[in-house]
């Protein structure tokens, strides 16, 4: 073993704690674009958590979930952005 497997869970726990602040921005943000920024940050953090925990559980399928998540969450952000600028 090269590094202690607990490390992955500690890094994941740090990312999950950062998500708390991101959700605070979603709840607090004065305008709607602020909330979208909070959601986008949360998406990135979830992808990073999924990559780290995929290595911790030692399964390749778990990394694939992260790829699919990164590509799909982008679609949701784009939809809300298109609504806000008056298109759609």
């Amino acid at each position: 073993m090269i590094i202690d497997p607990i490390t992955f869970f500690v890094v994941g726990a740090c990312f999950v704690l950062f998500m708390v602040f991101s959700l605070i921005r979603v709840g607090l943000g004065p305008t709607t674009p602020d909330r979208v920024v909070g959601l986008d940050t949360m998406n990135t953090l979830v992808v990073a958590t999924m990559i780290v925990l995929g290595a911790a559980f030692d399964e390749v399928v778990f990394i694939d979930v992260a790829i699919i998540y990164a590509l799909l969450s982008f679609v949701g952000t784009l939809y809300v952005a298109r609504y806000l600028e008056g298109g759609l």
Partner: protein, 84 residues
Amino acid sequence: MSAAQSIIHVVVLVLIVAGGALAVWFKDLISAVLSLAAASLLVSLEFYLLQAPDVAIAEAGIGAALTTAIYVIAVRRTRRKEEE
């Protein structure tokens, strides 16, 4: 199961409840849709933590992309603010 893993589980579950509560509480419907998207992405992460990657993929596709799109289109066709 280590202590760090328990922390991850507890924080994610608390965040799911908080996201759902925000979705009920907002009067602005777009903000409610955004909080619902946040809650559903955390549900996806929770499925992932419980070692069910296939369910997590389905939840990511339906919760993050499809539900948000359908709700945004529905809000576009109706009113943006909730009424008392």
